[in-house]
Symmetry: C2
Subunit: 232 residues, 2 copies
Amino acid sequence: MRLDLPPRFSFADFKKVTPIDGSNVLSMALERQLHRMTVKRAAAASENLPKIFDATFRLANKKGFEAMSLRDLCKETGLSMGGLYGYITSKDDLAAVIEDVVRHSSNEIPLWFSEIDDPFEKFDATLRAHVFVSELLQPWFFFVFMESRLLSATQRSVAKASEYHFQNALAALLGGGDPEDEPRAQLAASHCMALIQDWYVKRWKYRHQKVSVDSFANSISEIAGQLPRMMR
Amino acid sequence: MRLDLPPRFSFADFKKVTPIDGSNVLSMALERQLHRMTVKRAAAASENLPKIFDATFRLANKKGFEAMSLRDLCKETGLSMGGLYGYITSKDDLAAVIEDVVRHSSNEIPLWFSEIDDPFEKFDATLRAHVFVSELLQPWFFFVFMESRLLSATQRSVAKASEYHFQNALAALLGGGDPEDEPRAQLAASHCMALIQDWYVKRWKYRHQKVSVDSFANSISEIAGQLPRMMR
DNA sequence: GTCTATAGCATGATAGAC
DNA sequence: GTCTATCATGCTATAGAC
């Protein structure tokens, strides 16, 4: 899938064309993992699933997923213990589904701009899209950032691989192909990822400072624009 | 306390003069919070306390503090449940002590460079010192980053205040006093903190890329050096 | 100062009525 | 599909012997 967007597109531009947002991410979760659900009626699912995810983020993002008991989750959703277990197969499974949705969404992003020729424009578009997707799915991204280290060993290695994959994509666009520039391109790509992550990890801080998502994206895009020059 | 260091000092320079390192941080913990300890013999304390902190970081930084049981901690330290409780008053207290030590160490850093006149040199020294302290105390900093949101409400507000305090110190050095530049200086300071945090939060990644602490510090110092120019 | 043993409670998960 | 009731387990914290 290709996204048609102007250079230095805004959040408003992006929202009009993105295939990822808060509502269809639920159907994504359904398709990908929740075939294990015992509940079959679509009406019940579309009413209760959003409640379950919302409540999970409210509780887990405040006090940690491990500290969130399923009884807390029942209280927040209005479901009973037995009712809840119609939607999830275990507590760990709930975390794994969230992890999978975020991972899959992140991996989609670079594909949207595969047809842009200019490497720096492609780089800038990828950066912006990442900020904007993380804005649409902020609780999801925060959850995965904080909780992915407690997953099973195999899931953790998938998470690391996905992180390296995205970093390599950025580094390739920064490096220009010269193998001598590779280490510095990797370091610059790491810096970019750190800046992006701060947007959804420390969201409360930017809200308090009244920084809009557009001015944040412009700011890191400007810094990233200086990186190739500084690498020489 | 003032630290005498050359401009753009290295990690080796810093280690020679810093009042904070892995060994004296334990006596810091003792002085500040562990008066609640029932164990009074210094010999027993200096043998078991490091074991307790090390094991806490090994376990909590891998699977989360909440998921780490005190039985796990006993197995790792060789102490029994009863023995352990001679050193801590509760599990939450253990986290609070670590939090307090890190917070206190961070707040010390800006004071070391109060006598540097040039604002940008002061800014650069503060940035470097922060990276180097976080390198010496990496497991401590990682722990606080990941676990501080699960603390009590009052402790959490202390944590936020400390973060804003450090950011304001950086922003003041970047902004140059003009109130019109203030929002952009705050945003630039946020970016700097995000870059620094990545060093101890994603330490495994930089280790894998074989990035040394000196080249990391030089890299973010270079980026930060461009920020005032970009703000105009 | 350190141990063993246990109290007291909360948790994740399931069985079975409706 | 959703509920209530219950099981087995694992937890923090403490009491008391040595």
